[in-house]
Point group: C2
Chain length 257, copies 2
DNA sequence: GGGGGCCACTTGTTCAGACAAGCTGGGATC
DNA sequence: GATCCCAGCTTGTCTGAACAAGTGGCCCCC
């Protein structure tokens, strides 16, 4: 693993922070010292600490040593695409059941989001997902036509559709755009989640793409309030240096259209 | 803008994308070509495109040219701290009114979040904020004792407390941690926002720090549903396996504690 | 025509060195 | 004793070079 030296260094530093070797508020060693200690160049060390900064674990100001901001682990935004992956990482037992699976004409919004013609067909899937046995999430997804064959024959209790079609059909979600807001529970939501109609639900709608920028699916997730929250760390000086890394994430409140 | 060379290059590229010179799905020039065109080294160009990637505008895969993912502007997560700044950038008229301002003992949660003793005082501020004349946000903030003097004497209609205390007292929020979920409107929320009690509200709670990691405030914002949504772009880059994160921002659904 | 392999191109990673800009602490000064 | 200034440290930016690894297209062969 670790194909990369800077990931290796970042992993070690992260572990030191998580283990409490560096307390919150403590100063990290200087880049030169870390470079010497690891036998790497300063540029490589900067990629490593840049990774940690992007995770919100450490902060930095020009001229002063880097500071430890947190000692808890945060998972990547990359996992925002996968409820199953996130739940597994949190140590929760997750299960899912597909309640409906039909091919139908795309709605105007679906067609627009997925970038297909208004008359195109999509595969509509309704799923109810549980966390530790409790129903917490109603998921409504529209898959584009070219993805549909990979999804059509999956078992109803498939835990992670994303993972499965990635392995079986080589369809990997590389990018995602998410819209998060609150919405009143509809009658179907209320019945499935066991809440009162009109009560608050946390809604996450998202579009995923392949690495080449081809849309895969448009999903509407509705969470039981209190079961999950979205956590975000940000930094004013968030200038992503050479790190390519990844996942970059840009976000901000948007006016609902 | 004076800033740095790579910011200058990023600004120019961003403008080209926004202007439609590069359409969604189009390929950007290679790094070498950009470097030659700008008379900069490849490293500097990589910093520039890394910035765009962190904004979700472009994506990249090893071996293939960078692709344009979007042509709309997205603001930085940095503005997540400031409703006023964000609204201004969106071209909306924003106004605020402080309805209550009292010094009282910190609640257990406030003390814990702000890292102060359970007996400490905080300055509690209740604000109602409008967008284009409509009330959309109820804001409840607890300021730590050392910040309180800068906030105590602000006028009731101060549009941006963050900006004002940054200019007047030099207190600048450098980092932030945000928790986003949905909650039922309480009776005070319902009265102020003009919704039914128990109806859905989008809640954003956040803690801001100075550059040195010192907590400034703990805030509970409740938005009228439909008035705003949070938008997030993510990219599952480099690491084929799980873990480590994104760049400028790390976030993910968290189980509410 | 279809399949396979080769190759040029592009991005990812790393290095070593240089200067600019901001911070900190200690010493000199008032 | 309080204040100011500076020298040294640390992070931010930039250069030029090199190799590794993945992509895409072209060409050849079957």
């Amino acid at each position: 693993m670790s194909g990369s030296r800077y990931v290796e260094i970042a992993d070690a530093l992260r572990q030191s922070i998580l283990d409490g070797e560096y307390q919150v508020g403590a100063l990290l060693p200087s880049e030169s010292e870390l470079a010497a200690r690891w036998g790497a160049s300063r540029g490589t060390v900067r990629q490593a600490v840049g990774l940690l900064a992007s995770e919100g674990l450490v902060g930095s100001r020009q001229g002063a040593r880097r500071v430890v901001l947190r000692q808890e682990r945060r998972h990547s935004f990359a996992q925002l695409n996968s409820f199953a992956q996130w739940a597994a990482a949190m140590g929760c037992e997750v299960s899912s059941r597909i309640l409906e699976r039909t091919t139908r004409r795309a709605s105007a919004e679906e067609a627009s989001r997925l970038g297909v013609g208004p008359g195109s067909d999509v595969l509509y899937v309704l799923r109810l997902r549980h966390l530790d046995g409790e129903p917490v999430l109603v998921e409504r997804t529209a898959y584009t036509e070219w993805v549909a064959p990979a999804v059509r024959d999956l078992p109803d209790d498939c835990v992670s559709i994303m993972n499965t079609i990635a392995q079986d059909a080589g369809i990997v979600a590389h990018y995602g755009e998410h819209l998060i807001d609150a919405v009143a529970a509809g009658s179907e939501d209320a019945r499935l989640l066991g809440v009162r109609r009109g009560g608050p639900l946390l809604r996450q709608r998202y579009l995923t793409y392949t690495a080449a920028g081809r849309p895969i699916e448009w999903t509407d997730d509705r969470y039981l309030p209190g079961s999950v929250a979205f956590a975000v760390s940000n930094s004013a000086a968030a200038s992503p240096l050479e790190r390519h890394a990844g996942p970059s994430v840009a976000a901000h409140p948007l006016r609902a259209s």
